[in-house]
């Protein structure tokens, strides 16, 4: 089963199995230290498993996957590059773009992507000239420019204030709806998980394992207003009860 066609199964940390259908948005929530981020780093191939095996599409993973785009809690934009040049970075690394990379050739594509998250007019600014929310938007663009099959987000909005965070939820929602990209979001913000995801996985700490798989029963696309409805609150409340500590 491939990410692109059919459902995909990813088994990690020896006890965790996640299923992601193409175009699906899943979120993994849990208390800090439960291994959410480690799980993501395992899947991306940044950390090789210390013991046991990691299978993606039934095949063991030994190094970083080519079809992955990743964004982190800090935007991690390279300060000497403009927003545009930062977004272009994956194309300088990943095949087949790398082979005949030129800035001129791909900058229209990168500009369009930046525009889709509301960064028109900021493409030629350096990271320090952007607000935290803008940096994070650019960082998500960078994770998507090489058209990965799956987007891995490691608490991407954790360092932002509440208002900016909600703005970015909407931006991510629209981006995912428009591009039909498969997303795995790791977060400790239950409202964020319920607002954005089709399916929420709850992890417990030590041992890091999935204790509940919860399909969010709210139709998508969701408006921010949804977060104030009783049914939304109920889902969040149920999830909260599963997480102690």
């Amino acid at each position: 089963m491939a990410y692109g066609r059919g459902a995909a199964a990813v088994r990690a940390i020896d006890e965790v199995t996640l299923e992601i259908a193409p175009g699906e948005f899943i979120a993994v929530v849990g208390p800090s230290g439960c291994g959410k981020s480690s799980l993501l780093r395992l899947i991306s191939g940044l950390h090789p498993p210390a013991s046991g095996t990691l299978l993606v599409e039934g095949a063991p993973v030994s190094g970083p996957l080519k079809s992955v785009g990743m964004a982190f809690q800090n935007s991690n934009l390279l300060p000497w590059r403009t927003a545009l040049e930062n977004v272009l970075l994956p194309l300088e690394i990943v095949e087949p773009y790398r082979r005949d990379f030129s800035k001129a050739k791909f900058s229209a594509k990168a500009r369009a992507l930046l525009e889709s998250v509301g960064l028109q007019g900021f493409a030629d600014k350096h990271p320090w000239e952007l607000s935290g929310g803008m940096q994070q938007r650019a960082s998500i663009c960078r994770a998507l420019i090489h058209e990965p099959e799956i987007l891995l987000l490691d608490e991407p909005f954790g360092a932002l204030d509440a208002f900016t965070r909600e703005e970015l939820w909407v931006a991510l929602r629209d981006l995912q709806a428009a591009r039909k990209v498969t997303v795995m979001l790791v977060t400790h913000d239950l409202r964020e998980a319920v607002f954005l995801a089709d399916t929420v996985y709850v992890m417990s700490s030590r041992p890091g394992r999935i204790v509940r798989r919860c399909e969010v029963p709210i139709a998508r696309p969701r408006d921010l207003e949804v977060t104030y409805t009783p049914e939304f609150q109920d889902v969040v409340h149920d999830l909260r009860a599963l997480i102690r500590g």
Partner: protein
């Protein structure tokens, strides 16, 4: 640059230098200091003008030996710094040798260089090189060693090789350290060239001063010192300008806010 800024950056250093020379002149005149102890600025500038031809010829030699040594040090320092920053085993292996080598006073090496290469410009170039490459190596290695792992993760998550990570993150990240070290290195290279000329050479400001001292031509000695100071300032300013040009992003707090 507004008026206030202009006043601070141009007027105040000029005023300070002029005041220094005036004070020096007054002290020499008032105390009637003998010419062979401390010549007054008027004597020094007089000697500078009268002997402008030999002074310029020798200053030119000092300048190019300094720059040649500095250029070799830049290339070699950058390469060695990257090598040392590349792998911890290389770092551990090379570092003690580097420190040991750097601890040797370079003036003690000049006679060896003269023995090998004879009197001439080569020992000056090599001394300038030997004295100035160390800060470049250390700074480049430090820049690489302090690269944020998070920035490297961005590339590693894309499947980038170690070489890619170095090219896209490590080296650009350490450039401010590199250019910062050039300011130190150019000054040291200058010192190295002059030291070498003073120990043994047939040209250069150091050699000129040595000859003038032997002939009790103290105003020429001071004229030489003055030329050295001015050249030092010019070399430093040129390097600082290059630094600002290439690593503006690292100084954003001062220029862009």
């Amino acid at each position: 640059m507004d008026k206030r800024e202009l006043a601070i950056r141009v007027f105040s250093p000029t005023a300070f230098v002029v005041a220094m020379f005036v004070l020096w002149e007054i002290v020499c005149q008032a105390l009637d200091v003998p010419l062979t102890i401390l010549p007054a600025p008027s004597d020094v500038f007089g000697a500078l003008w009268r002997y402008r031809k030999p002074i310029w010829d020798n200053a030119f030699v000092t300048l190019w030996t300094t720059l040649a040594g500095f250029l070799i040090a830049t290339v070699f320092g950058l390469a060695l710094g990257i090598a040392v920053g590349w792998h911890r085993a290389l770092y551990a292996g090379i570092y003690p040798v580097l420190i040991g080598f750097n601890s040797i006073p370079k003036v003690a090496v000049v006679p060896v260089l003269i023995l090998w290469f004879g009197l001439g410009e080569i020992p000056a170039v090599l001394t300038a090189f030997l004295i100035s490459f160390f800060p470049i190596v250390v700074n480049v290695a430090t820049g690489l060693a302090t690269t944020e792992p998070e920035l490297e993760d961005v590339l590693r998550a894309l499947g980038a090789s170690k070489l890619d990570v170095m090219r896209k993150v490590g080296i650009p990240r350490s450039l401010p350290y590199f250019f910062g070290s050039l300011k130190v290195a150019i000054t040291l290279a200058f010192v190295g060239a002059v030291v070498s000329e003073t120990v043994g050479a047939n040209k250069g400001i150091g050699k000129l001063m040595l000859d003038a001292q032997a002939a009790f031509q103290v105003p020429i000695v001071f004229a030489g010192l003055l030329v050295l100071a001015v050249l030092g300032i010019l070399l430093y300013a040129a390097t600082a300008a290059i630094e600002a040009r290439f690593t503006g992003w690292a100084f954003r707090g001062q220029s862009n806010r």
